[in-house]
Every structure is written in C-alpha cells, then in structure tokens.
C-alpha cells in the first residue's frame, strides 16, 4: 500500500477555538504544522528533543511538547497556543501583564512555552512557595533571566496574597 510519496492525511482539529481542516504529511511535527501551515509562530522551536520547553502548547487543555507530537495526532483534539492568551493586541492576559511588569523576559524565546506551561493551573501555581514554583518551571529552560524575575511574576499573581 505504501509508495515512495510521503503519505498525506486529512485531519480535523480545533486550534485556539477555531476548527481547522488540513492535510498533513504523517511526519510533520505539530510545531511545524502550527508555525508553517497555520502561521502561528508564537510557538517556538528550540531543541526538537523535548528538553527546552519552548514549544509547549495545550493539548486538550494540558501542557505538552508540540515537538514530540505529530500533527496527525491532533486529529479530533483541541490545541491552544500562546496566541490564545491575549484578548487583543492592547489587552494582554493577566499572566502576560505580570511578566511584563516583573521583567520576566529578555529575549522572549522561552516565554510562550513558559506561559502555556503555567496558564491552566495559574491560581494553584501562584500560591506555591518559591521552591515549588521553581520545580514547576523545571521543564522550561530560560537562557536569559536566571528565572528570578519569572518567579517574581508568578508570585505577583498569587490570589491569596494582598497585592501591594
């Protein structure tokens, strides 16, 4: 049944709330599908090895590595990328706003992956102590900030602390 042409497969998925029908090559990674086919370039690609976390997106609501999933596997599932966070160019998501306030990014390469790793459980994570927050960040590498400002940004969102 196989010939030398790469197999192309029709998929139907929901990306950032919009239903998407597409035809993909079986070996296309979800990262490349998002970036190249859908032009959603917020999801970054660092290592394609599962190590850096820059490609983290939500798959059925859970943070996962988009570089370790084939686009065909998104068939019948929902994907959310960093582009889903802000309501508009003017109105950032509160977590993005907190990152901006606390200077939690420099080059910004790691930021989309970090935001998507935190977004689903933000209230729970923000209420953790510093060690536990660093633990939750262990799956995302940042080469610039030294993490301190990222921790600060997250802690500033703790619903149980009084904002000052």
């Amino acid at each position: 049944m196989s010939d030398n042409d790469p197999q192309r497969i029709a998929i139907e998925t929901r990306v950032n709330g919009t239903s998407v029908h597409a035809e993909v090559e079986s070996r296309t990674l979800l990262t490349d599908f998002l970036r190249q086919d859908l032009r959603l370039t917020g999801t970054n690609v660092g290592c394609e090895h599962g190590v850096c976390g820059a490609c983290t997106v939500l798959f059925d609501g859970e943070p996962v590595r988009a570089c370790l999933i084939f686009a065909v596997q998104a068939n019948g599932h929902t994907i959310e990328t960093v582009e889903s966070l802000a309501n508009s160019e003017e109105e950032l998501h509160p977590l993005q706003e907190a990152f901006r306030e606390a200077h939690a990014l420099q080059c910004g390469f790691c930021t989309p992956g970090i935001l998507m790793s935190l977004a689903p459980d933000l209230d729970e994570i923000a209420a953790l102590d510093e060690d536990a927050i660093r633990e939750r960040l262990s799956g995302n590498l940042c080469r610039c900030t030294g993490y301190q400002h990222i921790v600060d940004a997250i802690q500033s969102m703790n619903p149980e602390a009084d904002g000052d």
Partner: protein, 292 residues
C-alpha cells in the same frame, strides 16, 4: 532535525493494532506517548517505516483494583494519571512516590506507563520500581497472551523479553503487604533529568519484627535496570538496623556494573549507590513504624 518519512496507522482497538504489528513487525514501531520515540526519530536515531499509534485505543488505559487489592494498569495509562491516582497511592505507595521523579509535568502528560517499561531505559525510574514491586507485565502477540514477571523482562540496553510482534497491554502490581515499607531515592543534577543513580526498595517484616523479604531495584548503574539480589538477601532475617543497611549498601555497590560517561564516572556511580541504598533502606524501615 525532522523525522524520516513513515507510514502512519491509528488503530481503534488492540486487535487491530496487533494485526498491523503482525503484518509489519520488523519495520513497525508502536507509538505510545512518543516521549522517547519521537525525540529518537527527530534525531534520526530511529527510523521505523511504519508507526502504529495506539493513542486511540481506549481499552489500553485505565487503573483497576482487584478484590485482593492488586492493581492492573493499562499500558497506555499516562504517567500523570498514575501519579495522581488514589488507587495507586493506596495499593502501591512506592510507585506513587517515584512518579514525580520522571522528567517534567509536560512529559508525564503524554508519556505512558507501558511506554517507559517497553523502552527499558536503564536510567528510567519505572523499570527499577517495577522490579522492586515484583510487577508482572501482560503482553499480547500472534500466539495469544502471556504474563512476564518483571525480573524476566529486562535484558540489556533497551532490550526486553517482548518479541517484535508483541505488545505490552497491561501491568499488574501486587498490593503492598501489611508490615512493609518502601522508599524511592535518586540523585540527578537537576530535578527532571535522568538520574545518575537511583534505588527503589520494598521491605516486609515478619511477625517477629525481622525482615522477611526485601527487594532493591537499581537504575542507571548497569546495562539494564537490575535487582540487587545479594544486598536484598543480606537484609532478610535482620532487624534492619543502620548497620544492616550499610552492609546491604556495600553489597549493592559490588553487584553493579556501572559505566562512566560525561555525567559521572563509574566510581562516582558506585559511591552514589552505596549512599542511596543505605538511605533508602533506612527510610523504608522507618516507614513501617509510621504505619503502626
């Protein structure tokens, strides 16, 4: 890099998956969580001609507790589901304790219990834990189903007792015996990295308060995940005092066959095993008193 061209199949049942595997065994690979296979494909270390994606086979995931308290966990059960399962915490505390040491939350959201066992990385936590738990693996192939005890499953570097046309379907774990304690300890440079060495221990005391049985699974210190058999049998019959733990640690350090690499020399791994076995045995023993 990008993965090589392959033919993709997404069967909806175990039977369908097995039929595909039977047809293509030597050129096909099962795709479970993909957290080891896809990086290997992206780096062209693996180039299967055919992938059989079993993520759509619902019957392969789920956790059941049997009447005798033992667990049966489907091969496709995600690592983060095992991690947060109350059934697992109750029947197999050792497994519950070990789960957070595997990689990062984003990896455990996709990675599966069966995938880690079938992959049989000597540096992985789960194979060593399964050895210490005395788990049994259920495999299905063209000639039907068979159960393989954990200590007959791991052969060498990434090698298992599974035939190319067989797949792992479920894992059985006996309920933790009364008057027993467990511990999992490992040393890694950074939490989430593969450990330089690690130890999983199960200890059971008899009615006279001495050790009736012991099992020590070791990771990252040999070609394959292994049981420290001499160390475990030396503990049997003792009261598991600190000196007994030290004796077992010394024996374990002699039983392993570590290799040196970029991350740690063979001598350093031996040293780690000595320290970690002692700590793990002491912790497992202390856990028994906690339970009253």
């Amino acid at each position: 890099m990008k993965p090589p061209v392959f033919e993709y199949h997404a069967p909806g049942s175990t039977d369908e998956a097995l039929a595909l595997l039977g047809e293509h065994a030597w050129e096909a690979k099962i795709l479970a969580g993909g957290q080891s296979l896809v990086p290997a494909m992206n780096f062209r270390l693996a180039s299967p001609a055919i992938l059989i994606d079993i993520n759509g086979v619902d019957e392969l995931s789920g956790i059941e507790t049997a009447a005798d308290g033992s667990l049966r966990i489907g091969a496709m059960t995600r690592q983060n589901v095992v991690e947060s399962s109350d059934q697992v915490r109750a029947a197999a505390p050792l497994l519950h304790k070990a789960m957070p040491w595997i990689a990062h939350p984003q990896i455990r959201a996709r990675g599966t219990l069966g995938g880690s066992i079938a992959h049989a990385d000597p540096a992985a936590e789960l194979p060593a834990v399964m050895l210490a738990l005395g788990a049994e693996f259920h495999a299905r192939g063209p000639s039907g189903e068979r159960a393989i005890p954990a200590d007959e499953f791991f052969f060498g570097l990434l090698m298992t007792a599974l035939a190319p046309d067989e797949m792992l379907t479920a894992i059985s774990i006996p309920a933790q015996a009364p008057r027993s304690g467990t511990a999992f300890v490992e040393f890694a440079r950074r939490h989430g990295d593969y450990a330089l060495a690690g130890v999983a221990v199960t200890l059971t005391l008899g009615s006279d308060g001495t050790c009736e049985s012991a099992a020590l699974g070791l990771l990252s210190v040999s070609e394959a995940p292994m049981l420290a058999v001499q160390a475990a049998s030396a503990l049997v019959g003792t009261a598991v005092e600190l000196s007994d733990a030290e004796g077992a640690a010394e024996l374990a350090a002699g039983e392993i066959d570590p290799t040196g690499d970029l991350h740690a020399s063979a001598d350093y791994r031996r040293h780690l095993v000595r320290v970690l076995v002692r700590r793990a045995v002491v912790e497992a023993r202390a856990g028994i008193e906690d339970r009253g």
